[in-house]
């Protein structure tokens, strides 16, 4: 259906999910666009992007293309606190995040569930949640080598210290037999969880959707997170 939506003034978007899954870290800068416009694929050039840890190590990110600023030799460590500094046309943006430790997964498998007469596939990851501390998890998913997309945010609010299984699926495209999927599991801080939990609460029945609360200063959209992460590859049997 056609809907006349206002076109809001563009805002800076910072997409900065760092992790210890590899030593190449990517931060993307872009601007928001009008609802009916194609998504901004070219990004922001000419910004300065750096991350500093609490022991004053400084990691300077280099622009490559499409708004991506990359550091090719930076593997963050759990327990350290990292601060992001971004400078776009003399506007300063910053954010801080303490990297949590990884919570090991004990087993993975594919789970098939029947919901309202249809069968759906989920990646099931089982682990023991560490007791007496708050743990937060987010998952991204790639199907058959495609791009990773956010899939699910979880917390241990109701199952602290228990053996827990998280069920992960692609929310936009159902998984089917024969698919190879890669699940990237991030152990994140509370603010990162809150960001994605607010995002996943913006569903149809929500009375008043709003922008997820960013941990970045100066009114930027997006978030900065340094997480402990691992990837799991699974295949859905035919």
């Amino acid at each position: 259906m056609d809907l006349a939506l206002n076109k809001a003034a563009a805002r800076v978007v910072i997409d900065a999910q760092l992790s210890d899954a590899g030593s190449v870290q990517r931060i993307r800068l872009s601007r928001s666009v009008g609802f009916d416009d194609p998504i901004n694929t070219s990004g922001i050039k000419g910004a300065t992007v750096s991350v500093k840890d609490n022991e004053n190590r400084n990691y300077s990110f280099q622009y490559e293309k499409d708004g991506y600023y990359i550091h090719r030799n930076f593997k963050p460590l759990a327990g350290r606190t990292y601060t992001l500094h971004v400078d776009v046309q003399k506007q300063q943006y910053s954010a801080t995040c303490q990297m949590p430790a990884y919570v090991a997964v004990e087993s993975t498998n594919i789970s098939e569930k029947n919901l309202a007469g249809e069968n759906y596939f989920f990646a099931a990851l089982t682990f023991k949640d560490p007791a007496k501390i708050s743990n937060y998890y987010i998952y991204t998913l790639s199907t058959n080598g495609g791009p990773f997309r956010f899939a699910r945010a979880e917390s241990d609010q109701f199952n602290d210290g228990l053996k827990v299984t998280h069920y992960i699926t692609d929310q936009e495209k159902d998984l089917s037999r024969g698919d190879t999927i890669t699940v990237r599991r991030y152990c994140v801080d509370q603010k990162t969880y809150q960001y994605w939990n607010e995002y996943q609460s913006n569903n149809l029945s929500n009375a008043a959707p709003s922008n997820p609360k960013s941990n970045i200063s100066n009114n930027a959209l997006g978030y900065f997170s340094v997480a402990a992460a691992k990837e799991y590859q699974l295949q859905i049997g035919r």
Partner: protein, 773 residues
């Protein structure tokens, strides 16, 4: 405390008119249906010369008249009027039994004289509906429903397509006090909101107060919906029922001891899965989706001046999907009321009332197994007195003690311990209240009704209270071991006045303040049984409203038409909203998820009603605005409440085609609700995220709909068994009204996004067969 004295001072001054002249004598009595012996509410007693009165909720009337011979006319819509002459020397009791009219056309003629807006009475912003008024309004699935009917009145909005939730004058759904025989009904909807809990068979009548709310009511800031259950027939046994496409009903009533006591029992059950096809699943027998409700009432006449009424309601909804998921919820109410007439002037009602609501939901599978359960209940003891001093003065006063408890949603786990059981402390409160009001016909043209409602809401202690920072994170926790942790004492002045301009028109004005200590928290568009209730606490202050209303009322010479226009302004304090992504269930820190703000609502309502003739019905129109302001929402700027609409129009018409055929139609038009849509988008972590700039800054598309129905009622006189058919069309021209609008990535090009709408109901036919014996 000086403010208390200043409130009571005027009352002592106005007691002086009660020293009525010695030549007057009091006439009192009861007006009943001659067949069923049910008291008739609102029957009109007039004497030659014009003055008169109406019967109260017990069918009782009192009128002080000059001594001597008086000619009385007693009339009631749908009944044959009686004209009697009495000789008054001293107080006299005279009761009447009116004969019901069986012929429809007679009924129409008679009602022409009797119905009509009470232009003299100070009460405004109120509508009284009987089941007769609701009978011919076409509704979804043919289930006649009093809540759907009141949604067609000015200032009352439906909570959504097909919803039994409603908003009054810009207020929220949780701000309506819904009473069934004085007992609070916490969640008045079935099947996730498509039906109300009120089985039309068991309902006598309903009074809706939107403004100038009388002093005897309190506790919710938007409205009072006062529903009375029917009394059983004291003369003969009878039954009534119906078969519809969604539900079936059966009612039985009759005397226990003839003329002394009666019973009424009514039941309704919907058919599993009949309208929401969850299905496709192999094991259908494990799925269920239905509701039932039961109403019962016993009435006992304990001597000439004392009546005892016992009534109750129990209803349950069961939604179950396989063994995987279930959601059950229901209300239970019970009322015992002892009505006593001490003498000609003083009547008393002593009531003991219980009401409760609970829900339980659960998920059960190999991997995960847990249940969430919550309940809310209250016990209320009330004593009310009415003192009919003379024709110009009535005093009402009463006291009540209400104990309220809420067991918040708790989490329990049975099988494989996939969750930690979580028990959140219960919240308990006691509300001690009292009121006094005086209805006073000060001069021939000026009538007043004023009073005060006082209450002390006590937040009970012996529980833990938390404090939060501005982001809602707990910063301190304190165990309160005192019996009472906090008193919220509030004085609520109420005032209504009517100034008669001439025989047929009047100006009315009113003001009321009301506070609310029970709050319904919701962060969804639909009102769900899983909405959380909370009591005022150290963190949550009582909600408050101040409302002022001004109105003009006019009735035509023959009382065939009534017209009114009312303008209202409301100021709302301590309004509550919920943070985005909030967890309200099984969360000890849920108060940190709440935001507090203010609101205002104003509007203009027009109402034109035709009471009699072959064509009956009404037109209602509302022009309104409802806004809110919260720190932390919309950058602290004012925004439209979701239920804010500019225009609301309803046209309701019934046409008696012949003795046996009635045609009915309803047309509604309203501006779309205020809604939050994105004004941009951006990409994060592979997702197209929507960029929102303003809360409720957009509008849903305009909503309009026509419903039609036809009733064939052969109504052969003399036969004991009698039945009728009603066929209906909901949304007759199949308008695709948007229930909700959502956004998604374009399938072909994920760089593009698109809007799409979800339509709940297109054209829906229905047929209902009703019978009586």
């Amino acid at each position: 405390m000086s403010s208390i004295i200043s409130y009571f001072l005027p009352i002592s001054i106005v007691l002086s008119p009660f020293l009525a002249s010695a030549q007057d004598a009091l006439l009192s009595g009861t007006v009943r249906d001659s067949v069923t012996q049910k008291p008739l509410i609102g029957a009109i007693i007039t004497i030659k010369g014009g003055i008169g009165t109406t019967t109260n909720l017990q069918g009782h009337y009192q009128i002080t008249l000059p001594s001597g011979i008086q000619q009385l006319t007693v009339s009631y819509m749908g009944y044959r009027s009686q004209i009697t002459t009495v000789e008054l020397r001293q107080a006299l009791e005279k009761s009447f039994a009116l004969q019901p009219l069986t012929n429809r056309m007679d009924e129409v003629l008679v009602s022409a004289k009797e119905k009509g807006e009470a232009i003299d009475a100070p009460q405004m912003s109120t509508t009284h509906l009987t089941m007769k008024d609701m009978k011919d309004v076409p509704v979804l699935f043919g289930e006649k429903d009093l809540v759907k009917t009141i949604q067609l009145l000015p200032g009352v909005q439906s909570g959504g397509e097909g919803s039994a939730n409603f908003h009054v004058r810009g207020g929220d759904g949780g701000q309506n006090l819904i009473l069934l025989d004085q007992a609070t009904v916490y969640n008045a909807s079935h099947l996730l909101g498509f039906f109300s809990t009120f089985n039309s068979d068991a309902i006598k009548d309903v009074q809706l107060y939107k403004g100038g709310i009388p002093a005897q009511f309190g506790g919710r800031i938007s409205s009072v919906l006062d529903v009375s259950m029917l009394d059983g027939n004291k003369k003969q046994f009878s039954g009534e029922g119906g078969l519809g496409i969604v539900a079936s009903r059966l009612k039985l009533e009759g005397p226990i001891v003839k003329d002394k006591s009666s019973f009424l029992f009514s039941a309704r059950r919907s058919y599993a899965d009949s309208f929401l096809k969850l299905a496709k699943s192999k094991d259908m027998d494990k799925n269920s989706l239905y509701f039932y409700d039961l109403n019962a009432k016993l009435s006992f006449n304990l001597g000439k001046k004392t009546n005892l009424y016992l009534s109750g309601y129990h209803g349950k909804d069961r939604l179950k999907y396989n063994d995987l998921f279930h959601l059950f919820w229901g209300n239970t109410t019970a009322t015992a009321r002892l009505n006593h007439l001490f003498n000609d002037k003083i009547s008393s009602n002593t009531s003991l009332i219980y009401s409760g609501f609970n829900y339980q939901s659960g998920v059960s599978s190999e991997q995960i197994d847990f249940q969430v359960a919550s309940n809310i209940r209250n016990v209320n003891a009330k004593q009310d007195f009415s003192y009919y001093a003379n024709i110009n003065n009535t005093i009402r006063l009463g006291v009540s003690a209400l104990a309220q408890s809420i067991r918040p949603a708790n989490l329990s786990s049975d099988k494989n311990q996939s969750v930690n059981p979580t028990a959140i402390e219960s919240q308990r409160g006691i509300d001690l209240g009292g009121y006094i009001s005086h209805e006073w016909k000060a001069t021939t043209n000026l009538s007043l009704q004023y009073g005060i409602h006082v209450h002390d809401f006590m937040v009970l202690g012996r529980r833990t209270f938390y404090q939060f920072d501005k982001n809602g994170n707990p910063v301190s926790e304190k165990r309160d071991n005192s019996r009472i942790a906090k008193h919220y004492i509030n004085l609520e002045p109420r005032l209504s006045a009517s100034l008669r301009l001439d025989e047929r028109s009047s100006l009315k004005a009113s003001y009321n303040r009301i506070v609310q200590n029970l709050h319904q928290l919701t962060n969804t568009t639909a009102s769900l049984p899983t909405d959380q209730y909370v009591l005022s606490s150290l963190q949550i202050k009582p909600q408050r409203v101040d409302q002022a209303v001004l109105g003009y009322f006019r009735t035509s010479t023959d009382k065939q038409y009534d017209f009114s226009v009312e303008a209202y302004y409301k100021r709302l304090g301590n309004q509550i909203d919920v943070r985005n992504g909030a967890t309200l269930q099984a969360n000890a820190y849920f108060e940190g998820e709440l935001l507090f703000g203010i609101g205002r609502a104003y509007g203009l309502e027009g109402y034109l009603r035709k009471n009699s003739g072959r064509l009956k019905g009404w037109i209602s129109y509302t022009l309104s605005k409802s806004r809110r302001k919260f720190n932390g929402i919309n950058a602290g700027n004012w925004f439209n409440a979701r239920q804010d609409r500019t225009h609301d129009l309803a046209v309701v018409a019934n046409y008696a085609l012949s003795d046996s055929w009635t045609l009915s139609g309803t047309f509604v038009f309203n501006t779309g609700n205020a809604v939050t849509f994105p004004s941009g988008k951006y990409l994060v972590n592979g997702k197209s995220m929507f960029y929102y700039t303003e809360r409720n800054g957009y509008r849903m598309p305009d909503y309009h709909r026509l419903d039609l129905s036809a009733t064939y009622d052969p109504n052969k006189n003399g036969k004991r068994f009698h039945s009728s058919w009603t066929i209906g069309l909901y949304n007759a021209y199949n308008r695709k009204n948007a229930y909700t609008i959502d956004f998604r990535e374009n399938k072909a090009n994920p760089n593009l996004t698109e809007a799409y709408k979800i339509v709940l109901f297109g054209i829906i036919p229905s047929v209902t067969w009703n019978f009586k014996f």
